[in-house]
Amino acid sequence: MNHALPVVASLIAMAVVFWPRYGLWARWQLAQELARRIRREDALKHLIKSEANGRVATLNSLAGALQISAANAASLLEELEERELVTFEDGRPLLRPAGRAMALHVVRAHRLWESYLAEQTGVPELEWHPRAEEREHLLTPEEADALAARLGHPTRDPHGDVIPPPHGDLEGDPGQSLNTAAPQTPVLITHIEDEPDTVYRQLVALGLRPGMRAFVIEKTPSRVRFWVDGNEQILAPILAQNVFVRPLPEFRTEDLVEEEFLSGLKPQARTRVIGLSPACRGQERRRLLDLGFVPGTVVEVEMISPAGDPTAYRVRGTIVALRREQANLIRVSSKEASDR
């Protein structure tokens, strides 16, 4: 009888540790397997991104991107070769079809998840990328397709990157960087590079987003001074090179300067809507459109809450109250602003 207790206790302990699937050991192994898979997928992602951007991936670039030692990167590449995902040519790693498909899926899942977070949740902008970095490894291709359908098959993610179609190819070349844009020439921001994270955070904090219109005012070796959506900004060149733009030949700089935001409108003033800012996304954007904030609509400031915010605007015969942050998303013409 005396021996029963220790025996039962050790049996229970053994079960807790070694129980198939639910035991600690099994779980630990699963977690290890997942961690290894994530590392493989991250490596493949690095290869396909380098390729799309016309760069050559090397052992060192891989080690840098994954923040691992060169020795670990080498064994990782060996593992990828064993699994027939990667082949070597002149000592450089190249993707094989299976590896390319896997890499493409990861990129697709990442960008879809970012789109989902941007369009259908209230998750703050700075968390989109880190959350997508985790989720990209957990979505199956079928889940990614279902997500795409739910989102209405978006073609670009919130950073302006093209979401690759299933079995498609990864498009590179997001355009020229703001660094190289000619002064006094209107451009459209097409892409904000989300890596490295520290740079991305600064750009987001400045409110820069794909879809904004800008022009460089002046460029010196130490800084880039530029106009963007009504404000003047200054960036160090190292930051500006992560902002990608394409020229807007149909606009003159004067056209851009004439724009201001609805929030800047004085009480009793009236003006015309030019458009919604790209920072306005998802349901919020649809709602504002449905309320009639479309280009050409005349808006009037009707009254301001005694607490100072929100402000009620008269738009298409209806009075709609908007908070200051929302009014900051609606571009209006400053030229046509007039008192009633």
């Binding site: 649809r286 298409r316 209806t318």
Partner: protein, 280 residues
């Protein structure tokens, strides 16, 4: 014709067969209305009630069915779908109150309910309640619905308020521009309801055939895509009453539309006007 007869819907619309004068006067017709509440077992026609929030849609619903759904002066009060019924003349009508929405294009649940009911529920008539004081805004929804269905009646509600605001609406011109009957009303005071009932009846029984105005200028940016998909749709489903709307929804990746296409429900959608004439 008595003066209370509703304005003839449009000039290019086949006019209703001549009815005897008394039967068309509103007093007679109002006496014909039997409010049935929710006690609806069987019905001859299904009528959907759509409209922007805060346009008095629920007031119209209550006035016709005798139900007392709460109508607050809040935008978007009707949340769930409410149903009721009434009998008018020899026919029994089931009235379905759809959620009040500004649009039918978004992903919100309200809009999906309204959109799917008008398209797949194939109501015999869709009554669109519009606020006469804010017509421009309300026409956004009216025009979207007219893209989906060709059997609609616009109830131009809150005429009393429009008058108070000094606004006049030329309902004949509006009817001509929209291609569907337009009935001015003040549902709160019961004005215009007899005419509305008659217009619904005429459209439901096919006495009046609507020629709804569809979007006249397709934006250049989407024209090639829309034309191509409409072409594919028309080749596959020659009877589809609203290929452009379906194409638009497919292009924006509307899942219920994709499912309908895959599941073959799209093939069962066809112009109601065609079936009516086929029955005869």
């Amino acid at each position: 014709m008595s003066s209370a007869h509703p304005p003839s819907p449009t000039e290019n619309v086949a006019t209703a067969p001549v009815v005897d004068a008394c039967a068309s006067c509103s007093v007679y017709r109002a006496a014909n209305l039997k409010k049935l509440g929710v006690a609806m077992e069987d019905w001859d026609f299904v009528v959907a009630l759509a409209g922007n929030p805060n346009t008095g849609k629920s007031t119209v619903f209550n006035a016709l069915t005798g139900l007392r759904q709460h109508t607050g002066n809040w935008p978007g009060k009707t949340v769930a779908r409410a149903e009721g019924g009434y009998a008018y003349g020899d026919h029994r009508f089931k009235l379905v109150d759809l959620p009040g929405t500004y649009s039918l294009l978004s992903t919100s649940l309200d809009e999906q309910i309204a959109r799917d009911f008008i398209l797949f529920g194939q109501p015999d008539v869709t009554v669109i309640v519009a606020d006469a004081t804010r017509l421009e805004r309300n026409l956004n929804l009216v025009l979207q619905i007219l893209e989906i269905t060709d059997r609609a009646v616009v109830c131009l509600n809150l005429m009393d308020e429009a008058r108070r605001h000094g606004i006049t609406v030329d309902d004949r011109q509006l009817a001509r521009d929209l291609g569907v009957p337009v009935v001015p009303a003040s549902a709160r005071f019961g004005r215009g309801l007899p005419e509305l009932l008659q217009a619904i009846n005429e459209v439901a029984t096919g006495q009046v055939v609507c020629r709804p105005q569809r979007l006249e200028t397709v934006p250049a940016a989407i024209r090639p895509a829309l034309t191509a998909v409409v072409g594919e749709l028309e080749a596959a489903y020659p009877n589809l009453p609203n290929p452009r709307w379906v194409a638009l929804r497919l292009l924006s990746g509307d899942e219920s539309m994709v499912d309908a296409l895959r599941g073959g429900q799209l093939g069962t959608l066809h112009s109601l006007a065609t079936t009516e004439s086929n029955k005869e």
